[in-house]
């Protein structure tokens, strides 16, 4: 089983996690820029963090044969702090880089005006740099936040196919589906979504535009939940090809739209299953 985890915060994980992930089949991942658990108080903290995402973390992952990509953005929480918002002016430096495969995480946390302003500005940047957007949906008031998210995406003139709306659940999946955007599900040990509920959603609506991630971060989380979901799919009667589509080809297709993937996948024995193009060998999409 080859796995592309499309949303995992490796900065908060240990090398043991990298080792276990590689053993479980994780060959590529995307680490979205987010907060650090402890709020930042200056732009310089962002710069050092972004540097780590395109430097040190990429190196750490390479030691385990994992292709590390990232997304860059001012996150919704810190969009509310005027000490942090000037980082928006620095984003273009990073959005020009190889391996930066989307603008994100953007979106809402508490649905404030400041969050909306930063969100809209970053959707403009995504269009400007021809990058997809990775959108975080709020933990609180999730359905309203998801609807507002989709309104802003439409207002910004982003193609829905260039937008991934993440952390969805049974209540929010359908509005995103109807809008034509990609649907992300974070499989957690306790909250958000679990493998069996994920399988039920896949059985109900199919595999199109669905991405499954572990979103592992500072909280109680498990970087192997992607693998667990693949196994739950097989147990429920999905084929290995179905699993490969959800856990590999779908994220490659979505983030491949950036033209910035750095995949160099070792021999998997599965050949060029993705539309005969070179993505599997890791060149630019």
């Amino acid at each position: 089983m080859r796995i592309f985890d499309p949303h995992i915060h490796m900065s908060s994980r240990t090398t043991d996690d990298y080792e276990a992930m590689a053993a479980a089949g994780v060959q590529a991942l995307v680490e979205p820029a987010f907060w650090l658990g402890q709020p930042r108080t200056s732009v310089d903290s962002f710069v050092d963090y972004f540097d780590a995402l395109v430097g040190w973390e990429r190196f750490r992952a390479s030691q385990f044969g994992i292709a590390h990509h990232c997304t860059i953005a001012l996150n919704p929480k810190e969009a509310n702090d005027p000490r942090c918002t000037p980082v928006l002016d620095l984003l273009p430096r990073y959005l020009a880089k190889d391996g930066v495969v989307a603008v994100g995480e953007v979106g809402f946390d508490s649905m404030t005006e400041d969050e909306e302003k930063a969100f809209s500005r970053q959707l403009e940047l995504a269009r400007e740099f021809a990058l997809p957007a990775l959108v975080h949906t709020p933990h609180r008031d999730k359905l309203a936040g998801t609807r507002r998210t989709l309104d802003l995406v439409e207002a910004a003139g982003m193609e829905p196919g260039m937008v991934l709306v993440d952390h969805l659940n049974e209540m929010t999946v359908d509005v995103v589906d109807e809008a034509g955007a990609w649907m992300g599900f974070s499989i957690y040990p306790d909250t958000k979504m679990d493998p069996d509920r994920m399988v039920a959603i896949l059985q109900r609506r199919g595999l199109d535009r669905v991405l499954v991630n572990s979103a592992a971060d500072w909280g109680k989380s498990d970087p192997l939940r992607t693998r667990a979901t693949g196994e739950a799919m097989l147990a429920a009667g999905f084929t290995e090809d179905d699993v490969d589509r959800v856990l590999w080809r779908n994220p490659v297709e979505f983030f491949g739209q950036s033209g910035r993937l750095l995949l160099d996948v070792p021999e998997t024995g599965q050949g060029d299953t993705f539309a005969g193009n070179s993505l599997l060998r890791g060149e630019r999409a």
Binding site: A67, H68, D89, P92, K97, E128, A130, L262, R281, R284
Partner: protein
Amino acid sequence: MNASAEGDRVGHLDKLDTTLDTPPPSGSGGSTSNAPVGRAASASERVETNTVADERTLDAWCAEIEAEPTRIRTRFPAAAREIGRTPGTSAEPGAERVEDGVRLRLLAALGGALAGDPDALSIEVHDLYRFGDADERRAVLLGLGQIEDLIGDRALDLVHDALRTNDPRLVAAALGTYASRLDDAAWRQAVLKCLFVGVPLRLVAGLERADDELRRMVADYAAERRAAGREVPADALSFLPAPTQTTRES
């Protein structure tokens, strides 16, 4: 406009941001103005990465940088995907990579353009490093030797920065000919660090500089490894007297 006089980092960046989406200035020659900066292609237009550098485009970019040095700010990060790269990311220090060669050419063009203004060259090189990802930083370090006569000691802090990392690819790249400018203490520490992080010493330029103090440090390192029951790297052994002798020197 040349940003060399711009002392204020934020002002400098603002200027960069405005250049990201504008075509090269007309003075740089019409043939280069259509070269993409990596943001224009839609899904249907994409082509495979060149694993052999696209020399024609590279020549055009170099000419463009010679005419307008600030263009390197957008060309340098885009160079791998637009001109050529070795696929995949490798943790191996010293591996030959197509994109390194491409970026060295761009740096040489920058050096040529700013040959008469070493401070401006230094500012541009520092910003390429400061805002570069690990690949871009490696290329800057590898390129310091070729602009050494122009930049003097001005970029020595970049070597120190790279030597503080634990990324063996950066440590190795920092120890080319330019590292001869390090003082003795820093240079010895750099060589010792190579043994620690697994940078082969064949990648270190000017190893004949090794002195008794470095040999003492390596001998102590070897003694510490042996005391812990661990293997002594072959590169360390090459510094030591014959294996039967004691590792202490007085």
